[in-house]
Symmetry: C2
Subunit: 150 residues, 2 copies
């Protein structure tokens, strides 16, 4: 799909997949040093002795990589991915060398009560590693403009 999608074009059940993207130890440490400076994200030795038993990516790093795979995936929304918010659950750690893929599915499409020119789509976004294990589930509410104002 290259055509931009408006609210009228979306329906529950539409989906796409994207990935994989590999998460390296260097990227884990660099992200963590800027945004989540905790030793289990920064240092292999300390991480080995931590809750994670190994160098693990910040959950926000996983969320950010998931966003990249959403935005560059096969469902180009007319105004882009403009999030109102979302719910993130981290199911298990992401380790150095893991390869992440996402599957995004439209769960619900709703008109805005207050603004006739737009609506919202609720997207379920599952992020899995190379063993197809679920590492993150994100429910994201994105704003989508209408093509024609009713």
């Amino acid at each position: 799909m290259t055509e931009k999608l408006y609210l009228e074009d979306l329906s529950a059940g539409m989906s796409f997949e994207n990935g994989p993207v590999t998460v390296t130890a260097a990227e884990i440490k660099e992200f963590a040093s800027r945004f989540d400076p905790q030793e289990f994200h920064l240092d292999e030795k300390a991480a080995a002795e931590s809750f994670f038993h190994g160098l693990a990516a910040s959950g926000w790093h996983t969320a950010a990589l998931t966003m990249r795979l959403m935005v560059t995936g096969g469902m180009p929304l007319a105004a882009g991915y403009i999030g109102a918010g979302g719910e993130v659950t981290w199911k298990q750690p992401v380790y150095a060398g893991d390869e992440l893929s996402v599957r995004v599915e439209v769960v619900e499409v709703k008109s805005s009560q207050s603004r006739p020119d737009r609506g919202f789509a609720l997207l379920r976004c599952e992020t899995r590693n190379q063993r197809r294990e679920l590492v993150q589930v994100m429910l994201a509410r994105v704003m989508v403009p209408r093509r024609q104002i009713p």
Copy 2:
């Protein structure tokens, strides 16, 4: 506080504040180019014509900066900030030059049903800009170990 905090040390109503941190245009673009490559996060001119009417930070950038202010703030949890998940709501855009501060409050402290060595704390984390406007609310569930196993 420099003493590490265990589940027994936490109670609803405890809070801390941290910040500000300034978000620059260069940082907005760099984060976006890696994790959220949409034109309203990458290019001033395109952003001016977009929904945001100006260069705006990715919501995940705001979330990541909020995490930095949480982790480096005044409530050092014994095992660090290990998130099980959370709910993020973006209330309004973060623009280049904005200065973000956070206020974190413990909302609830619960023992784990299945693991006697730990529990969970629900944290409400409000992120505000230099005008004290709310830009993000995050409800985060973090794992906290017990000092003594009952």
